[in-house]
């Protein structure tokens, strides 16, 4: 029984699949499968069993979850305690859904750390489904993105999803303020960032609402890249309104009128309960409510070069 094995088990149980757990841990699928196998063997219990509809916990598995989860939590706490005792800066691992991670998190953390909060901050991007598990297992301290029901979530910013295209795109001609018919949207090429392929994300739901078929999606490594392609007239793109206003003002992009009401949404900050989260998480949370943070978020634009956007790196904690 190793901490790695317990971690693998908890994530499989929480995320409902070996594949998802492997992704969250940043390792291959057999690595997780193997860890799970070893734990099963050691305890003499299947722990989780496959069913037609996902995975199901055995009685023993259900009992093991809270224990294993707490052990993993304590392991992180142990490392933090030692760091703290030595006066080293706190670790603050922030995860965010891709759009937030790309445009807002770097700026926010830059300001946050420059405000004298002695932290060593890192950002990772993740899917909405994963975020909850990452926070519960203390693979991350703070999550920014969707509301997470089983954690302490608080709205930090409103945003609006719109459809953009080049002003030279043929769909934008002759509209005269009328909405683009839904049938026309389905046939277009859609240029999307990573968020669109995260089932359950706001962007994904937004596109589903517009009845955009999946095969029409051309996925880019970042929103910036997708919007750049849209500006080149290669197709339509879903976008966060205030992030593309510079491009709209410049005339590189224009907002397409689509049917239905405007899609206004919220980004939230999520952490564990106050008594279980790290001090740095509490401080960041508080910071996100300040006017300063608000300002940074609204000012957020593509000034952050895409190259500075790093893919998620969770790595195992106990090497």
């Amino acid at each position: 029984m190793t901490l790695t094995q317990l971690e693998a088990f908890v994530l499989v149980a929480r995320l409902g699949s070996v594949k998802a757990a492997a992704k969250a841990l940043g390792v291959s699928e057999p690595a997780v499968s193997g860890a799970l196998h070893a734990l099963r063997q050691h305890l003499g219990d299947p722990l989780v069993e496959r069913t037609p509809t996902g995975m199901e916990l055995t009685t023993g598995g259900k009992r093991l979850i809270p224990i294993a989860s707490q052990m993993v939590n304590l392991a992180v706490e142990a490392e933090a305690a030692i760091r703290d005792a030595q006066g080293a800066p706190e670790l603050l691992r922030v995860v965010a859904t891709s759009t937030v991670a790309e445009f807002m998190a770097p700026g926010l953390l830059a300001v946050f750390t420059s405000r004298g909060h002695a932290v060593e901050a890192s950002v990772g991007s993740t899917t909405e489904a994963e975020m909850s598990a990452l926070l519960h297992e203390r693979l991350a301290d703070v999550g920014i993105g969707p509301r997470l029901p089983d954690l302490v979530s608080e709205p930090i910013m409103r945003y609006r999803l719109v459809v953009v295209a080049s002003p030279r795109h043929r769909l934008t001609a002759g509209l005269d303020g009328h909405a683009v018919p839904a049938s026309a949207l389905e046939e277009q090429e859609w240029l999307v960032g990573p968020a669109a392929v995260d089932r359950g994300s706001d962007v994904s739901r937004f596109l589903a609402g517009l009845r955009v078929p999946e095969r029409r999606l051309r996925v880019f490594g970042s929103e910036s890249a997708a919007w750049a392609a849209a500006a080149d007239g290669e197709g339509l793109a879903p976008a966060v309104a205030h992030l593309v206003t510079p491009d709209v003002r410049r005339g590189a992009l224009m907002v397409l009128p689509v049917q239905g009401p405007p899609v206004d949404l919220l980004w939230y900050v999520s952490t564990l309960d106050p008594d279980r989260r790290s001090p740095a998480a509490t401080r960041l949370r508080r910071f996100l409510g300040t006017p300063d943070a608000m300002h940074v978020m609204h000012r957020a634009d593509r000034s952050v070069p895409v190259s500075r956007f790093r893919p998620p790196v969770y790595g195992t904690l106990w090497s």
Copy 2:
């Protein structure tokens, strides 16, 4: 950071020496030293440092103790939870100081298990100093022996320490009810069981009170063996009064009158707090207060063959 390493660290910190921790775990000293080294390396903190008078915890070490201890506890709890979920009998690991382990524990557990308590019981013997740590780290569920201040201890039986010798021993001649002079005691050969070399044990204090020098001790593997040698006239032996009454009645041994008041002492049962101990531990605890248990303890004699007395086997829990 492995559980083995954390366990090693906690025991070293609790027992105050690598040697003692190694003994408690039933492994060699370098095994513990190595585990500690690995943990130190991993956390980048010395954790414990040698001082002229034992070991001292660093700041980080002090913070790590409760976290590590809880992790080890949870690991045991995890295994127990799975066992329970599968309907397997509970494990009940009893540790006792050598005399209790030799004469009383086997009988008590035999009756206890035969009373329909579905448990898989095992007995180990230990020194008084170790017992507390073993219970705290859940290497054992119940301790029988001395009172342990930082645990829940309850007296279960009174006993009296006496000095016995063969009636044919030269010291026993011409006493006429007078006490044996202290000076005479110091020069005798003393035949003792393992308890006498456990510094801090009642027997050890008893002998110290009689001013018996350590070099006079001849240590046997069990009390039975020591008393058998005493019956052969090879020397004096400290003994638990009610355990030697059969021999006294048979005339194989006699109780020597020594100076000072009779030494009446108590054996206790110790466990963790009610909410942290295993159900089986609670049941055994309750059982030990019943007349049935009392009867077994008083009846306890050397009817249990020495060969059935097993040396302690703690083994690491996470292989």
